[in-house]
């Protein structure tokens, strides 16, 4: 075990002890019944509590407010939050993850001043995808034109989670239309209170509306809010995005494990075909449970071993593609079995589900939401392209 991992293990009892004392029992059902703005406030408060106790960002460097425990510490915190079934501050996923990592790695001293806001629960949203730039993100058309001390931004972004509640937006915009498409993109941090910004929620298939469209109409962004140089946006977005995504995997694996245990307990209480028997006595169902249990075991081994390699080498490579692909497709299969066992109960109207984690315990919502995993942040098809081209060395797609 490396020193990093030893230090992280020494930290484990502290966070697990704290979580045991600060249990938020019943938080899911409370949030399900609350308006979305209250849900967001709940998470912001919870994030502040976690930070006050030193458990929000134990992986960050001490100079930015963390404990300096690195990736291994992050993994431990995720595991313990998951085991305690504690709320995860989802609306702050971008702030705490991608935004913070980008600021720390590429930000100026002036930009570092945003980090305390992140720790105070401020929400960042992501302005990457556009209606005409999904999988082909680098073809994005939102423009930023330099005029003196500002850039003027015009365009439209989409699939931006919690943008309605966001104070800041991580924006990718085209600054050089003449450059090859990956090289003409620049990274900005935009104040969501700027004149010219309109946010419109998008109602999703589940009935909830965390996603938003953002319209930029002559929005002025001060030049000091540019991250990196003109034309470096693509590279900056890629490096931090990939690492952040991999870090989530520990938590996701744990929550799948817990959900399978829950499914087994549910099934023991559901009727089987023979009088007095339970669904768990049905061999077809048991084989399904065994297949899912097998794959969760595999995911866990794959996650732990690949992330240990990342901790040791610092190189994430295509690991995040493999993990995301394996996880998201397993999640889809798991939630499908989970939803099927509940018969007609599962297909009742979903209402407007609240963001309470990837496995909320509402099987049909969870199943439907599993598509956000196979689509968002690079579809399964894009991940397969990445693996085939970057790992197996197969000829690249024809790109325009």
């Amino acid at each position: 075990m490396t020193d990093d991992r030893l230090a992280a293990e020494r930290y484990r009892p502290e966070i697990s002890g704290w979580l045991a004392e600060h249990s938020q029992a019943g938080w899911r059902s409370r949030l399900q019944a609350s308006p979305e703005s209250e849900v967001v406030r709940f998470y912001q408060d919870w994030a502040r509590q976690l930070h006050a106790a030193g458990h929000l960002v134990p992986h960050w460097p001490v100079s930015f407010g963390g404990r300096g425990l690195g990736f291994a510490g992050q993994a431990v915190a995720q595991q313990e939050l998951s085991r305690a079934d504690a709320p995860r501050p989802r609306p702050m996923a971008i702030s705490l993850g991608h935004a913070a990592a980008t600021l720390m790695e590429h930000g100026t001293e002036e930009q570092h001043k945003l980090i305390p806001q992140i720790l105070d629960g401020e929400i960042f949203c992501q302005g990457f995808s556009e209606p005409e730039a999904g999988s082909d993100l680098a073809s994005l058309r939102t423009r930023a034109v330099r005029r003196g001390d500002v850039y003027v931004v015009d365009g439209q972004k989409t699939w931006s989670s919690f943008a309605r509640y966001a104070r800041w937006c991580l924006l990718l915009a085209r600054t050089d239309p003449a450059a090859p498409k990956h090289r003409g993109i620049t990274f900005f941090i935009v104040d969501m209170l700027s004149p010219g910004i309109t946010v419109r929620p998008i109602r999703q298939a589940t009935g909830s509306s965390e996603f938003c469209e953002i319209f930029f109409d002559g929005v002025e962004v001060p030049a000091p809010m540019r991250v990196g140089d003109d034309g470096e946006g693509w590279r900056i977005a890629q490096t931090t995005l990939v690492t952040e995504r991999a870090a989530q995997m520990i938590e996701l694996t744990e929550s799948l494990r817990r959900s399978l245990d829950r499914l087994i307990r549910d099934a023991a209480g559901l009727p089987g075909r023979a009088p007095g028997s339970s669904l768990l006595d049905e061999s077809y169902f048991r084989a399904q449970v065994g297949a899912l249990g097998t794959e969760i075991e595999v995911l866990s081994a794959l996650t732990q071993r690949s992330l240990a390699a990342v901790t040791d080498t610092g190189d994430i490579g295509p690991t995040s593609s493999i993990l995301k692909l394996f996880f998201s497709e397993l999640l889809q299969r798991f939630t499908r079995v989970d939803a099927q066992v509940h018969g007609m109960d599962v297909v009742e109207d979903l209402g407007e589900p609240r963001e309470v984690g990837y496995l909320s315990g509402r099987p049909f919502v969870d199943h439907l939401r599993s598509w956000t995993w196979t689509i968002a942040a690079g579809t399964s098809e894009i991940q397969r392209n990445v693996i085939a081209e970057r790992v197996l060395g197969l000829p690249r797609e024809v790109r325009l």
Binding site: E297, V298, R384
Partner: protein, 393 residues
């Protein structure tokens, strides 16, 4: 003691070098048609390198390797489709004999002598499942055994059989010489392994020949079975990686419609999925080895450890079956010819999966272990403690 990552990498290189020099895949067809179905020179080399005694402690004359080492070795053997009874002998039978020798008050010197012969490569043995044989008598008075063990992998060329007779608490372990039973060789689709049907005709097993019985025997068998699952899983992970390599290089060079076929997403995505199956197989089998290496006491195994090993076996064998099939598909017609090695990987994949009882049985086993964990009752149809494994116990 477990080996370090560096030691394992060195072991992998050494085994790969040895096998590629002495038993390359291109000469396979001549070897598997020979009298024993494997190269005896290779077997001697394995003995010289201490690989036949890898799982035998140094105190019993072996090399005292760990489970991580056996994964490394079996992965390399899987890559070259090494013919011969390594898993049935050097893993399964050897583990059972080690278990017997490590029991306090070992009954006789016989198992230790046989073990010495196996480690040195002087004789070979196979662990076989006699659970369906008709048994009269008792462990105390001795048994009389009648019936046939079908399709015992590795038994065709073995000099002796380590036999598990009886079921449940009544299980007993004994060694039966080849001459004591009627051996009918069964050729398998996977020509790299040979099986036999073994007919027992009222064979007497005196009390002195019973090496272990009851809970002791069950514990010994469970370890042998888990190690067999681990070895078969590793063989599968290695074979799958190799056949993926064949398919990938073919897809990169075969041109149709004016482009390498590997530039089409239909092929590319298939290969990417195969790669995920291969990587995840390697990860879970390594994890399973670590889990076994972390167990200090021989008797009791936590359910979580058995679950990881069984999950590794289920995943690696079914991934191998899928990857080998997809490799044939990627190669097109050429992959369906006898000369091309694809079918040999495919057949070994099927043998591996069938050997461990099939995918459904392994899944049921994982489910039983999970159900116990969450405190749900055992099902009547479940197979916890059932014979998934070597078909042993």
């Amino acid at each position: 003691m477990t080996s370090t990552a560096e030691e394992r990498a060195a072991l992998a290189d050494a085994v790969a070098g040895l096998l590629v020099d002495h038993d390359p895949v291109d000469s396979l067809s001549a070897v598997v048609d020979g009298p024993t179905g494997y190269r005896t020179e290779t077997w001697s080399l394995l003995a010289e390198q201490g690989l036949l005694g890898l799982l035998v402690p140094e105190s019993l004359g072996g090399s005292g390797g760990c489970h991580g080492d056996i994964v490394v070795v079996c992965t390399q053997m899987g890559r070259v489709l090494l013919p011969g009874p390594f898993i049935s002998g050097a893993v399964a039978a050897t583990s059972a004999l080690v278990g017997v020798c490590e029991m306090t008050g070992a009954p006789s010197a016989a198992p230790e002598e046989l073990l010495g012969d196996l480690v040195a490569g002087r004789r070979t043995a196979a662990l076989v499942d006699g659970g369906r044989l008709t048994l009269t008598g008792s462990a105390r008075q001795g048994y009389a055994v009648t019936g046939t063990i079908r399709r015992a992998v590795g038994a065709a060329t073995a000099d002796a059989f380590v036999v598990a007779v009886g079921t449940g608490d009544e299980v007993a372990l004994t060694v039966v010489e080849r001459s004591a039973v009627e051996v009918t060789e069964v050729r398998l689709a996977d020509a790299t392994r040979r099986a036999a049907d073994l007919r027992f005709d009222d064979l007497a097993i005196p009390p002195a020949a019973i090496l272990a019985s009851g809970a002791d025997a069950a514990a010994v068998l469970r370890w042998a079975e888990l190690r067999t699952r681990l070895a078969v899983a590793a063989d599968s992970a290695g074979g799958a990686r190799e056949v993926l390599g064949l398919a990938t290089s073919y897809a990169g060079t075969r041109v149709q419609f004016g482009r390498p076929i590997g530039s089409f997403q239909a092929i590319k995505h298939k290969l990417a999925s195969m790669y995920v199956a291969v990587q995840s197989s390697a990860a879970v089998v390594a994890e399973a080895a670590d889990v076994l290496d972390a167990q200090t006491a021989r008797g009791q195994l936590p359910g979580a450890a058995m679950r990881t090993v069984t999950a590794a076996a289920a995943h690696c064998t079914s991934s191998y079956v899928s990857v080998a099939g997809d490799a044939i598909q990627t190669h097109g017609g050429i992959g369906f010819t006898w000369e091309h090695p694809c079918h040999r990987f495919f057949k070994r994949a099927w043998l591996n999966q069938a050997w461990l009882g099939g995918e459904a049985a392994m899944h049921l086993s994982v489910a039983d272990l999970l159900a116990v964990d969450v405190g749900s009752p055992q099902s009547d149809v479940g197979v916890a403690g059932a014979r998934v494994g070597t078909g042993v116990a």
